[in-house]
């Protein structure tokens, strides 16, 4: 016995750390029990809803059963042109996001680098940011109609200021020591901006990207629900209008799925590209 334990402790550290993974297996077992429980709970909830709707104890305009929701998908796809509306909503969100990102970061860089511009334009930006965006949507409808550009502009408005202020904050966070290093190597002003200042601001800009990725979809849908001719928000409105609750739930599920995919894409982008160094 004592021999074994002596052998155990005298093993090189590397061998032991290699085995650590195998010893961790009880945790995996625990984990899968956890998963099983979660699946069971989800199944119970779905079954209860199914029963409540099928038995008629909850009216069908309030709630749709899981099978009804599943059955709504082919209808949405083939009769109501779901993919076209999905395409419209995603393009609005994406274009608005891209505009907010490029213009927001550009404004932020300009204001972060030129203190005078910041002092002069800062109050205007803060004032514009303070306007609750939803209150000017009717005005925007007057200016831009209820079509594509109206949505893109609203998505842009929802995102622009966050990019501006996060970029400024990121630039402020630049480490004085890194600037010194660059200057000691005789870096030009442009090189200091591209090699030191912008990379320093990336984590802060990425935080805005993460926030906005979720926000731009919400903004596009919101604008569509208020006034639109097409898009998922428009489909939602129409489904609610004819008390097609199953379709409403199916649309909500679709939008949720898109939101989840977006978040994981952003995570991947952050881990593999922009903040790779933080994850190694």
């Amino acid at each position: 016995m004592s021999l074994t334990s002596a052998f155990e402790t005298s093993r090189p550290l590397s061998a032991r750390s290699q085995n650590a993974g195998r010893f961790a297996s009880p945790q995996w077992a625990l984990f899968s029990w956890l998963r099983a429980g979660q699946f069971a709970l989800a199944a119970v909830i779905l079954l209860v809803i199914q029963y409540a709707v099928d038995s008629g104890s909850v009216k069908q305009i309030y709630l749709a059963s899981p099978t009804q929701i599943v059955a709504a998908f082919p209808r949405l796809l083939f009769e109501n042109n779901l993919l076209y509306h999905l395409y419209i909503t995603l393009s609005e969100a994406l274009l608005g996001f891209a505009l907010a990102l490029t213009l927001g970061v550009a404004t932020g860089v300009a204001m972060g680098l030129f203190a005078k511009a910041n002092t002069f334009f800062g109050p205007f930006l803060v004032a514009m940011m303070a306007i609750p965006k939803v209150t000017i949507i009717p005005l925007l409808t007057l200016y831009l109609g209820i079509g594509f550009s109206h949505k893109v502009f609203i998505v842009f408005l929802f995102g622009y200021f966050i990019f501006v202020f996060n970029t400024i904050a990121g630039i402020r966070q630049v480490d004085e020591k890194h600037l010194k290093v660059a200057r000691a190597f005789g870096a030009s002003r442009l090189q200091i901006v591209t090699k030191i200042i912008l990379p320093s601001a990336v984590p802060s800009i990425m935080a805005a990207v993460r926030l906005e990725a979720a926000m731009c979809l919400v903004a596009a849908l919101f604008a569509e629900i208020v006034a639109s001719k097409a898009g998922l928000g428009n489909m939602l409105n129409r489904a609610v209008g004819v008390y097609d609750t199953a379709s409403v739930f199916a649309l909500v599920a679709t939008i949720t799925a898109i939101a989840l995919v977006t978040v994981s894409l952003i995570n991947l982008l952050e881990k593999r590209v922009f903040l790779r160094w933080k994850y190694v």
Binding site: D175, K177, H178, K180, V181, A182, R183, A184, F185, G186, A187, Q191, K195, I196, P199, V202, W277, V280
Partner: protein, 258 residues
């Protein structure tokens, strides 16, 4: 041959009251010499190093390099910073190649040079790592490799080993003297560690604080390689400590309330 000539230099930071960081400094630094600026914090030793590196300009007097006044950062000068100051978003290799990248040298060539200097400082195979994956001592080695990569005539080192533990520090000091003896590149080294100064220097310039002035210059003509704990080295240290205490009493008396 004189490399740096510092002639009656003052450095004053504006404010109310203005802060006199350096007052009437005159000093010449010879080619190939290992000179150490020693002193308590606030004595202006780092400021003087920044004047040499061209990162700052003197308020009065002149600092010249090879007889020409220093007007800004210069490719002949390699600076090693306190706590390495590596760029966290770049790999170690890219960090070491940073100076070369700024001067427009192609990716392949600067990669080769970077790897060469990583080998030299004992970081072979760490090029793909990021700074936060390395220990403090390794980061500082990378900082030295970065300064060496542009093949400067002079290394200016600002408390480079201040942030590493004592054992690592001793090892880094030995490695640095080894590197220095290879090609006798001039080194100006700032520290507040008496033992470090005595172990490394050909000449120690002791500064007194507020305002920063040159107090005493010690010539260290002990043979190399030096052995830590060597009696002559300890004698020198003890002499420096005595002077340091004298400096402290002096400045305390000067700043005492009347």
């Amino acid at each position: 041959m004189t490399l740096f000539q510092i002639s009656s230099v003052d450095k004053v930071y504006p404010g109310s009251p203005p802060v006199v960081a350096l007052q009437d400094i005159s000093l010449s630094i010879e080619q190939g010499e290992f000179i150490v600026f020693l002193g308590p914090s606030g004595c202006g030793k780092s400021t003087l190093l920044e004047l040499l590196s061209g990162l700052q300009q003197p308020s009065d007097g002149q600092v010249s390099f090879h007889g020409r006044p220093i007007e800004g950062p210069h490719h002949s000068l390699g600076v090693v910073f306190q706590d390495a100051s590596l760029l966290p978003w770049s790999t170690i290799e890219d960090n070491v190649a940073f100076g070369l990248e700024l001067s427009g040298i192609g990716k392949a060539e600067r990669g080769n040079t970077a790897r060469h200097y990583l080998d030299k400082v004992g970081l072979t195979g760490f090029g793909e790592k990021y700074p936060h994956q390395l220990s403090g001592g390794m980061r500082q080695r990378a900082g030295i490799a970065r300064a060496l990569s542009t093949e400067p005539e002079v290394l200016l080192m600002d408390e480079p080993f201040g942030a590493v533990d004592h054992i690592t520090r001793i090892k880094l000091q030995e490695e640095l003297t080894g590197l220095w003896q290879e090609n006798r590149r001039t080194i100006v080294f700032v520290t507040h560690d008496v033992g470090e100064a005595a172990f490394l220097a050909d000449r120690i310039v002791l500064f007194s604080p507020r305002p920063g002035r040159v107090h005493t210059i010690f010539d260290v003509d002990l043979p190399r390689p030096r052995r830590r704990g060597d009696l002559d080295l300890l004698k020198l240290e003890s002499k420096i400590y005595d002077t340091l205490h004298a400096v402290e009493n002096q400045s305390r008396a000067a700043n005492a309330p009347v």
